[in-house]
């Protein structure tokens, strides 16, 4: 049904804007796209109002590329920079009250499971550090402890970017920001640690320095959530405006950050590991067969 809504009625396609025609003819629907395909197909998200050089946008684009079934995916977001880009993607997006993402996603996912028991629908929460660990902390924690079957992607720019640079729970200790005039008193919140305590099926920390790894990680998080329960991906997506990173240096900052304190980490539950190993083995075999 959903793919049919993407396809216009016969004879109507040529009258639609060229961007839409491209989405239908050259989009990623029904196909598995790789990072190396970028530039050769019509992405789900292209135009967006994000700042030049924004690392968050790169990460969001890559997650859209990773969607296993965009025609059966719903994003849930909240106030913050991320939603400016996510809402421009060709995937339904719920923009709720600040900090309500994981509660909304809990109800949404369960509702969709009731209505479409034969058709898995992927619910993805994607929002900033403030939306998740400050105002949305309670909802986040409880969705994790309930093991709700959706993935949570934190766009961790370590600051309130959208409101102009106030410290958040994810800001590094000592940093002078708006609302931390003497430097942030407390440590950056250990969300990976909390995710482990909640025994999530998949936990990852990532910096978008290696696009293929972002795509692989995002896909794992979505597929494991679909099958078992909550998953969490924490991505460093610098705010080059608030941290005054010159646009050409944004990727260098990402590499430095990764090396210094934000190295790639990935944790699976046993069941998630067995499931992903099996799935990826099958994928590889299928790819090999296709090459022959």
């Amino acid at each position: 049904m959903s793919l049919d809504t993407v396809k216009p009625a016969p004879g109507y396609l040529e009258h639609l804007p060229v961007e839409y025609q491209d989405l239908v003819k050259h989009g990623q629907y029904g196909k598995k796209k790789k990072v190396s395909d970028m530039g050769k197909f019509k992405e789900l998200i292209e135009e967006h109002p994000m700042c030049a050089g924004c690392a968050m946008t790169l990460f969001i684009r890559l997650v859209f590329l990773a969607l296993p079934k965009p025609e059966h995916t719903i994003f849930v977001g909240t106030a913050g920079c991320g939603r400016l880009a996510i809402s421009q993607g060709n995937v339904p997006f719920i923009y709720g009250n600040y900090g309500d993402t994981n509660a909304v996603a809990s109800g949404l996912k369960r509702g969709l499971e009731l209505r479409f028991p034969e058709q898995k629908k992927d619910v993805i929460v994607m929002c900033g550090d403030g939306g998740l660990v400050d105002i949305g902390f309670q909802g986040l924690m409880h969705s994790w402890f309930r093991h709700e079957k959706f993935s949570t992607f934190m766009l961790d720019n370590e600051i309130y970017g959208n409101t102009g640079g106030q410290e958040s729970g994810m800001t590094a200790q000592g940093l002078v920001a708006k609302m931390s005039p003497r430097g942030k008193v407390d440590e950056k919140m250990d969300m990976l640690g909390l995710a482990k305590v909640a025994k999530l099926d998949y936990i990852a920390r990532i910096v978008p320095t290696n696009p293929a790894r972002v795509v692989r990680t995002a896909r794992r998080a979505i597929l494991i959530a679909r099958e078992f329960g909550s998953t969490y991906v924490q991505a460093y997506t610098s705010c080059n405006i608030e941290y005054s990173i010159p646009t050409p240096d944004v990727m260098q900052d990402a590499f430095d950050k990764e090396k210094k304190e934000y190295g790639f980490e990935e944790h699976f539950s046993d069941r998630a590991k067995a499931y992903i190993d099996d799935l990826e083995k099958k994928d590889k075999a299928a790819a090999k067969a296709a090459k022959k």
């Binding site: 809402s87 109800g107 949404l108 369960r110």
Partner: protein, 418 residues
């Protein structure tokens, strides 16, 4: 819809093949119920049972074909929503959980409703206030949630007693607001609320408020049909805005929220969206009229002295009317069933002739009094008295209403009015 839809497939397969904790082959009790329209249900033979309001609500939920119920416990609501848990266990409700608190509750139930399933929650005073941000956003999201609200004191000092000041906070949200009088209403009206809120030209959340304890924790007569019947399910394809199921293109509102832009077009879009929400509130009136047998009930029409009330105050007013009748005095009573949409034309027609109007209420602010004054301004010569009111859990004996009437007749100036 076409038979290829994923939803259609569901109906051809076993929905609850293996439910954890249930024996193999377990059939949810809800699947054994027979679907009938609410009009048919209202005409069925009924058995009258003397039961608490909480039990009446449970029996209503049992017949309401609810898909999803989410709530956080709070006195006096918990009695009902823990019963809803048992209904879930029996298979009358398809999914259910105890949420983390009310912002979580009200957000999660909006997610469920956006998925296109019938969604129920319930709360009381302080919980309502905690969830206020979330539920104030429901009408704009066009989610037809039904929220039972068992009223309770919201101000300091903390109390669990009945006081319905919280209803005043719901009046301008765009929600449909009913104020039930007794246990019977608390059985009948949630069913009505689901049917009306899910009408495609309404698609709005609806609260059925009731005065806590006096109704929830006391017994009253409730006439109800057999539990083998339930009302039709929600049709997730039939909404004013599409469900967020990625089976239809989503409404632009959720993609390009006006807040993302500051220009005339975005302001205009937001304004028209609000106009549409409040128009939908008005459009709901015809359905409430059908299912509730009128938006108001009038006792002794044409009397010079009229009492206008909602909720439990109606019961006390009824007894006052009866006692006045014993004395040979004809006092009228208008029971306002729907607070939103407010039955403006009906109240004017029923009250414009009056010389004296009393508005008894269980709150300090007198929100119904303000509604009545606004409604009748320019339409009546009646003196609209500012009371009587009790609050903070105080009781309203019939004598209070009778005393006001006596003082007014004796031209005692101690009763203030507008």
């Amino acid at each position: 819809m076409s038979p290829e839809t994923a939803e259609a497939k569901q109906n051809s397969t076993s929905k609850h093949a293996n439910v954890p904790g249930k024996p193999e082959g377990w059939v949810p009790a809800g699947d054994l119920q027979e679907v009938i329209s609410l009009e048919e249900m209202q005409k069925l033979p009924k058995e009258t049972i003397f039961m608490t309001g909480s039990e009446a609500a449970r029996e209503s939920i049992r017949r309401a074909n609810v898909d999803m119920a989410i709530a956080y416990p709070i006195t006096p609501q918990s009695e009902t929503m823990q019963q809803a848990g048992y209904l879930f266990d029996e298979g009358y409700i398809k999914d259910y959980y105890r949420a983390e608190e009310e912002i979580g509750t009200m957000s999660a139930i909006s997610g469920a409703s956006r998925a296109g399933v019938r969604s129920l929650t319930a709360t009381s005073g302080p919980g309502l206030m905690r969830g206020m941000e979330a539920l104030a956003s429901w009408p704009g999201a066009r989610v037809p949630i039904v929220m039972l609200n068992m009223c309770r004191v919201i101000n300091t000092p903390l109390a669990i007693q009945p006081d319905n000041a919280e209803i005043s906070f719901l009046l301008n949200t765009g929600m449909l607001v009913l104020h039930a009088e007794n246990q019977q209403d608390f059985f009948d009206w949630p069913l009505v609320a689901f049917m009306v809120s899910e009408e495609v030209d309404v698609t709005l959340p609806c609260t059925v408020s009731v005065d806590g304890f006096f109704v929830t924790h006391a017994r009253g007569n409730v006439a109800m049909c057999d539990k083998k019947y339930k009302i039709p399910p929600r049709d997730g394809w039939r909404n004013a805005v599409p469900s967020m199921d990625n089976e239809n293109p989503p409404a632009r509102i959720s993609r390009d929220a006006p807040i993302q832009k500051s220009n005339f077009i975005s302001y205009h879009m937001h304004a028209s969206w609000q106009q549409e929400v409040f128009s939908a509130v008005q459009r709901s009136a015809k359905y409430f009229d059908k299912y509730l047998g009128g938006l108001i009930e009038v006792v002794n029409p044409g009397a010079d002295e009229m009492i206008i009330a909602s909720g439990a105050a109606v019961s006390q007013a009824r007894e006052a009317v009866r006692q006045e009748e014993e004395k040979g005095n004809k006092v009228g009573l208008i029971k306002v069933k729907t607070i939103r949409p407010f039955p403006t034309a009906q109240v004017i027609a029923a009250a414009k002739h009056a010389k004296v109007i009393l508005v008894p209420e269980f709150n300090q602010t007198g929100w119904l009094h303000k509604e009545v004054c606004t409604t009748l301004y320019g339409h009546t010569q009646a003196v609209i008295y500012n009371g009587p009111r009790v609050y903070g859990g105080m009781t309203m004996p019939t004598e209070l209403i009778l005393d006001w009437l006596k003082d007014i007749r004796e031209k005692d100036k101690s009763r203030n009015h507008f």
